[in-house]
């Protein structure tokens, strides 16, 4: 039995995240905790069910990938240990690992800087927004 | 050496399970359909304290590759103290087998309660893997002077 592309990608997300989306009981505590909820088109709890339903294409196009702050509030509070933040991050990586998947391009950066920008901001943004 | 058609080593494993906790745990593994290899054959004993070291040596003598004893958790023995005696007896016996150079992974004691079907299955899977990694029981076989 061969897997469809979407199934393969969903499996990849499970692998990269090390998270088991089937443990989710759809309580929504991740979305209740998320500081970026209002910036996201697909909400944290939806990420989990999108992976269960192999709906990866929608995730790949979601702007939520770039709005997650990586603050682990969802991971800390999830009662089912699903670690939604890792699922979001894995979806992000899936996109970035593809050719041309970088969200941030080197040539755009100088315009984004000011004198006070700490290195920490640059390196974290690089790691989150580029392969 | 017992093999399947595809040349995979299939060990012979004897599991002694106490009636009250571990045998029931094995039943629960069954009713929960938590699989483990068919290499494991279970013998029901009333209590882990019933397991005489002679039984274990006998199993090895007759070609077993691994022997595991399962009983109630310390403090939970149906007969109050059988597992405590088993714990000391088996510790000393295993230490002796290790001392004469038999791989210490071939013997194991695990406490499995009646509610721990998942643990029973996981333990058996792990033990079978361990025995497979050790291969056939050659050292006790050598003592046996098997030709």
């Amino acid at each position: 039995m061969s897997l469809t592309m979407a199934e393969k990608q969903a499996e990849q997300i499970r692998q990269i995240s090390g998270s088991d989306p089937y443990k989710c009981m759809k309580c929504g505590k991740c979305s209740a905790s998320c500081p970026s909820f209002n910036e996201m088109d697909i909400k944290p709890h939806q990420f989990v069910s999108y992976v269960v339903n192999d709906n990866i294409e929608a995730l790949a196009e979601s702007k939520s990938l770039w709005k997650c702050l990586g603050c682990f509030a969802c991971v800390e509070r999830c009662p089912r240990d699903v670690q939604p933040g890792r699922v979001v991050d894995a979806a992000r990586q899936l996109v970035e690992r593809q050719r041309g998947g970088d969200h941030l391009h080197a040539e755009d950066i100088p315009a984004l800087l000011d004198d006070d920008v700490p290195q920490q901001l640059l390196v974290s943004a690089f790691r989150r927004y580029r392969r | 050496m017992p093999m399947t058609e595809n040349g995979e080593f299939r060990p012979l494993i004897v599991a002694f399970c106490c009636n009250w906790c571990s045998y029931a745990g094995a039943d629960l593994a069954g009713s929960s359909r938590l699989s483990y290899p068919a290499d494991v054959k279970i013998i029901r004993v009333p209590c882990s304290g019933r397991v005489n070291p002679m039984f274990i040596l006998r199993a090895f003598e007759r070609g077993a590759d691994g022997v595991i004893i399962c009983g109630c958790h310390p403090g939970d023995c149906h007969y109050t103290s059988g597992n405590y005696f088993a714990r000391r007896r088996m510790t000393l016996l295993f230490s002796m087998l290790d001392y004469i150079g038999v791989e210490n992974g071939r013997t194991r004691v695990e406490w499995v309660s009646a509610a721990e079907g998942a643990k029973f299955s996981a333990t058996m899977n792990e033990f079978v893997e361990k025995i497979k990694s050790l291969g056939e029981n050659v050292r006790l076989g050598d003592l046996r002077c098997k030709d």
Partner: protein
């Protein structure tokens, strides 16, 4: 007591205060920060992917160096603390990552998470003791009402970092008390400042920091302290009406210990 010290990229540059005052305070408190030679940047965020090995190696190198010195590894920056503790946890408990990292590194002896990673504040709490610290304070910050701003990286995930209760931390409040000031507890002290989104969407940190300042100010804080240069940046950039000054915790520490203007280590 000697610690292998991992300053991290920002402390060598935009957050020199965080580093400088820590060094001075350490001298006053009688422990030594031995900077790891040729340390490499931790990357700012922990690589979450279970298959990401290369990006964890700079942390492993630092951890292994500390192990070879027989020293605990101390950090100041919340991000470095977060990344190093989590990579260390992987090396100790995640066989797959540990094996692959060790295969790649080819160290003399495989690194299995032997090093203990401690945050500077943990040293104050667990090794020196806040009671001892209090005795060494020469300029108590009496009358100051200080809000601890933890941010996210210092606390979560609580299971791995074991820094403090991630939902109701006490360590910075106890620290503030030890310096003679009054801690102000406000609910958003463990909420994220907006982090790296600052680079491309200033809107997010603006909203986050406004909420944080409103909350801290509402409970009467005169100032905030932080251990994270990125939090510092985002808070400083805030245009909230409720904005109060933000300091690195080490600056207040040095001040209280009377070594703010002291000679360098």
């Amino acid at each position: 007591m000697k610690y292998s010290y991992y300053p991290g990229c920002t402390l060598k540059n935009k957050a020199q205060d965080l580093d400088l005052y820590a060094r001075r305070a350490a001298v006053a408190l009688g422990f030594e920060l031995v900077e790891i030679p040729e340390w490499q940047c931790c990357g700012g965020v922990y690589p979450l992917g279970t298959d990401e090995i290369a990006s964890k190696l700079s942390s492993v190198r630092a951890l292994n160096y500390a192990k070879e010195q027989g020293q605990d590894l101390i950090t100041l920056c919340s991000a470095c603390h977060h990344v190093l503790k989590r990579v260390n946890d992987d090396m100790k408990n995640v066989a797959d990552i540990s094996d692959r990292a060790n295969n790649y590194m080819q160290l003399d002896a495989p690194y299995k998470g032997e090093t203990t990673v401690v945050h500077f504040l943990e040293v104050l709490r667990d090794r020196i003791g806040f009671d001892e610290l209090k005795k060494k304070v020469v300029n108590p910050l009496t009358g100051k009402k200080i809000g601890a701003y933890y941010g996210c990286l210092a606390l979560r995930p609580g299971k791995v970092l074991e820094f403090d209760d991630p939902e109701n931390p006490q360590i910075m409040e106890d620290f503030i008390r030890a310096l003679g000031a009054e801690p102000v507890i406000y609910p958003y002290r463990n909420e994220c400042c907006g982090a790296y989104t600052a680079l491309e969407d200033k809107n997010i940190p603006a909203k986050r920091t406004k909420m944080i300042f409103d909350s801290a100010d509402g409970f009467g804080a005169d100032m905030l302290i932080t251990a994270c240069p990125l939090c510092m940046y985002n808070l400083n950039k805030s245009e909230a009406d409720s904005k109060v000054p933000v300091y690195y915790f080490t600056e207040l520490l040095a001040e209280a210990l009377g070594v703010k203007e002291g000679v360098e280590q």
